[in-house]
């Protein structure tokens, strides 16, 4: 559970969150009152009118118009209030302010890619400044996914044939969970990312550095970082266990049988091809489901990954 949250909800980190929680609490209190009335009443009547002694005829209480009108009209008024309240908050969470910054989100099996207007690209890590409305323009490369950040109380499906959008304004710095909430297959529960909310200054510094990440790193260290950042680990282990795809352990120089019966040795060119055109050669026993990383990984990043794979003996 979220240590900063309440018993019911995780902590409120968006402008809309308090409003959602307030309506929830309103319905919760109403529900408790009605629960005591109906279920408490059931228990009370069950005890009070339990059979005592001889069988008897019971009273002819077949209806009571006043009562029946009351318990139809009162709940109707209450749910109408709830409807209006819920719809008003919903409109607020649907219409992004004009001052919003825009980030492009791409969902695919089983990771998220974020493209910033300034040119930076991240995987499974959405970095945003605090107190700034952010509008996400989202689409999917394969099946339907859904973008969900519990702390923001917001969620939107990510579709393959059209753009959907979602906006939020984070109110506190920190790291928050990002889940995929539309079932998308084997790696669905691994399609988890982070939303990093930074101060404006930190965000600007991050954005400036995002373009030349890895500049001060050895290639194999940078490759190790990319393996994590780009979510390669969702499908490829480094301990030898096969996941959705083959393990990277001992990959470099290994000779494998392909699904078409041919054999191939994992050298630099093989790895490069497998990253950019994953369906060209598929190792026997695995499904041809890896998406292409064309446009996601730059040349020097592929170089770094190859350097990293060489260290995984």
């Amino acid at each position: 559970m979220d240590p900063n949250g309440s018993l019911i909800f995780p902590s409120q980190v968006s402008t809309i969150a308090p409003e959602v929680d307030a309506l929830f609490d309103f319905i919760l209190y109403l529900s408790i009152i009605f629960f005591i009335l109906v279920v408490g009443g059931t228990f009370y009547f069950a005890w009070k009118y339990r059979k005592k002694g001889e069988d008897t005829f019971t009273k002819d209480l077949s209806h009571n118009n006043m009562l029946e009108v009351l318990w139809t009209v009162i709940p109707t008024i209450l749910v109408f209030i709830i409807f209006v309240w819920g719809f008003k908050s919903y409109m607020k969470m649907t219409i992004p302010p004009d001052t919003s910054m825009e980030i492009k989100v791409t969902g695919q099996k089983w990771f998220w890619t974020f493209n910033y207007a300034e040119g930076a690209t991240t995987t499974n890590e959405l970095v945003v400044p605090v107190n700034q409305p952010v509008k996400l323009l989202m689409s999917s490369n394969d099946v339907i996914h859904s973008f969900y950040v519990p702390n923001f109380r917001t969620k939107m499906d990510v579709l393959p044939n059209r753009y959907t959008q979602l906006w939020f304004e984070a109110t506190e710095t920190g790291e928050y969970n990002l889940f995929c909430t539309e079932y998308c297959g084997k790696g669905h529960s691994e399609m988890i990312g982070k939303v990093k909310v930074l101060t404006r200054a930190d965000y600007d510094a991050w954005l400036a550095g995002a373009g030349n990440a890895g500049a001060n790193m050895k290639p194999e260290e940078f490759g190790a970082k990319l393996y994590k950042d780009k979510a390669c680990f969702t499908c490829h282990s480094i301990d030898g266990s096969p996941l959705v795809g083959p393990s990277f352990k001992g990959l470099f120089g290994r000779t494998e049988k392909m699904t078409d019966g041919s054999e191939a040795t994992a050298d630099e060119n093989y790895i490069r091809e497998s990253i950019l055109e994953p369906q060209a050669k598929v190792v026997q026993g695995f499904q041809p489901i890896m998406p292409t990383y064309q446009g996601v990984l730059k040349d020097e990043e592929i170089d770094a990954l190859i350097a990293y794979f060489k260290t995984l003996k």
Partner: protein
């Protein structure tokens, strides 16, 4: 009056053929009962395996693929093979003609056909388990379902075929209720269970074809490659969701309405009170059936449908909640000044009030769009629909099963063990699913094979609860099966109920009644009628006696 000597529907004809070719609604109901209970067992085992895997995060017993197949099968089996036919086709088949004072349903051959179509549909579903079980979830959302390599076609064909079975039952019941009521039984003198079955049948007949067409389109897309839902072929995946929920939302009322019908019977019988607000309960069943067709979009608030649609669907959703609320108040009022006894069926009635209230209130929360955006596709929704479907329908089904058990078999079950099993099920259910409200509100998404460590404690309690549920059902299976062979013989009317099915023998004779029964009193006239030791006592007779004595 003893069971062994008189001929009844169970012993009138012998041999396997007399069952397989029977046109007797009671025998067909029993075969359905056997089939749905087998499905319930299967679906229950899947559920226990799912909960077992979720005891800890990461891989414990199954791979991600197996887990995805398990939750798909759990959903598909429980919905299509168990809960939809459970009350109408199994219990309803048995009691509807008896309650109407009829000899059989209107179309006995159609009735048998519906059973065999169910069996064929079930075989397709079972085949899909052997041939690489589906992993799409019971909702078959496109484009995942058009692209996965598992056996989607045989499972959807199974559901397609099962749809016809459901439609046949619906048509049959509508005709039966219209044409076969005993002399004197006008519409407003029918038991409320019959009203509920009537409303259910209307939905079955009108909504099921849409599911059939949708699943067929899905099969055509997969086999022939015509782009209807898959965007890669120019289709629209959200269209599938609209089609699917156009059936599947009314379908939840196919599941719960008959459950409400049972509760109306039970609460009146065990309170020995005239049902309160008969007409309002009857009309609310029809109201639910009608509005249920207009709320499907509340499953799609995050799907990308227009904000305007979401608004309309949210608004209408609240109005389907009102009739359910009205029923709750009416049942409560029925208990007022009653003479209440606590045999197992009444215990299930009380459990129903408790659990269905929680299911309903959380439904109101989910109907509010802004809250649904947060809760959608989390465990909060999972908990909500288990409270309505299991806490509502299954609990009512169990209540009805115990209630009519003596009528079906002519034997009594063990009341003590029934109470023990009830306690296990009631407590186990709450431990399993109440925890899931918290999991969901904290953000735990559904259909997750693996999860973050922070959710582990609640998942653990939920799994412990599932074991309690398992124990409860094992005890129930034991005493119910035992009672069929060794239970004490049941009187004709063990509960002192006034509806017509209790006026014949237990078990009923082959043609239900010796002569055509005529309605002499209404099903809930507990103010002027009571049954003690199978003897009907009328208030006017008692008065006469008193007058003579004076």
């Amino acid at each position: 009056m003893s069971v062994a000597t008189t001929a009844n529907y169970l012993n009138a004809e012998k041999g396997i053929k007399s069952w397989l070719f029977t046109l007797d609604h009671k025998r067909i109901g029993l075969m359905y009962l056997f089939a749905v209970m087998t499905s319930f067992f299967l679906g229950g085992v899947f559920a226990l395996l799912i909960r077992l895997e979720l005891l800890h995060p990461g891989q414990d017993f199954f791979t991600a693929d197996t887990y995805n197949q398990l939750f798909t099968l759990h959903g598909a089996v429980m919905i299509f093979l168990f809960i939809i036919p459970a009350i109408p086709a199994a219990l309803g088949n048995f009691v509807l003609p008896l309650m109407l004072g009829a000899k059989d349903v209107a179309f006995p051959r159609l009735n048998l056909a519906s059973f065999y179509i169910y069996v064929v549909g079930a075989l397709f579903a079972l085949y899909s388990i052997v041939a690489g079980a589906v992993d799409t979830g019971w909702t078959f959302y496109t484009p995942y379902s058009t692209t996965t390599s598992t056996s989607v076609i045989s499972m959807t064909m199974g559901a397609f075929i099962l749809g016809f079975s459901s439609i046949f039952t619906g048509v049959n019941f509508i005709a039966t209720i219209h044409k076969m009521r005993a002399p004197g039984m006008t519409w407003f003198k029918m038991p409320l269970m019959v009203w509920a079955l009537y409303a259910t049948s209307i939905i079955q007949v009108l909504a099921t074809p849409v599911l059939g067409i949708t699943l067929l389109l899905l099969v055509i897309e997969r086999t022939v490659g015509i782009g209807i839902f898959d965007p890669a072929m120019g289709g629209d995946p959200v269209l599938f969701q609209h089609f699917f929920w156009f059936y599947s939302h009314p379908a939840v009322y196919i599941m719960v309405l008959p459950g409400m019908g049972i509760i109306s019977e039970l609460v009146a019988t065990f309170s020995k009170k005239k049902i309160f607000g008969y007409k309002l309960i009857a009309y609310s069943s029809l109201g639910i059936a009608l509005i249920s067709f207009l709320v499907w979009g509340h499953h799609m608030f995050t799907s990308g449908q227009s904000e305007f649609s979401s608004m309309v669907f949210s608004f209408l959703t609240f109005f389907v909640g009102i009739p359910s609320g009205i029923k709750m108040f009416n049942w409560l009022a029925t208990m007022y000044k009653g003479r209440i006894t606590f045999e197992a069926p009444m215990l299930y009635t009380i459990a129903f009030m408790f659990l269905f209230a929680i299911g309903g209130f959380t439904g109101i929360m989910l109907g509010a769009i802004s809250i649904d955006i947060h809760m959608h596709d989390t465990y909060f929704v999972v908990a909500h629909f288990h409270y309505t479907m299991m806490g509502g329908t299954v609990i009512a089904f169990l209540g009805g099963l115990h209630y009519w058990w003596p009528k079906i078999w002519g034997r009594m079950y063990n009341e003590k063990l029934a109470r023990v099993a009830w306690a296990f099920i009631f407590v186990g259910f709450n431990v399993t699913f109440f925890t899931q409200f918290f999991l969901g509100a904290q953000g735990m998404p559904r259909r997750y094979y693996n999860y973050l460590d922070q959710y582990q404690p609640l998942h653990m309690y939920s799994t412990y609860g599932s074991w309690m549920l398992g124990v409860g059902f094992l005890i129930m299976a034991y005493y119910l099966i035992y009672s069929i062979y060794k239970g004490p013989k049941a009187p004709n009317n063990p509960w002192g109920a006034l509806s017509m099915e209790w006026q014949t023998t237990s078990p009923p004779i082959q043609h239900n009644f010796e002569d055509q029964p005529v309605l002499e009193h209404e099903p809930y006239d507990y103010d002027t009628r009571m049954v003690v030791n199978d003897e009907l006592i009328k208030k006017e007779d008692v008065k006469e006696k008193e007058d003579i004595n004076v």
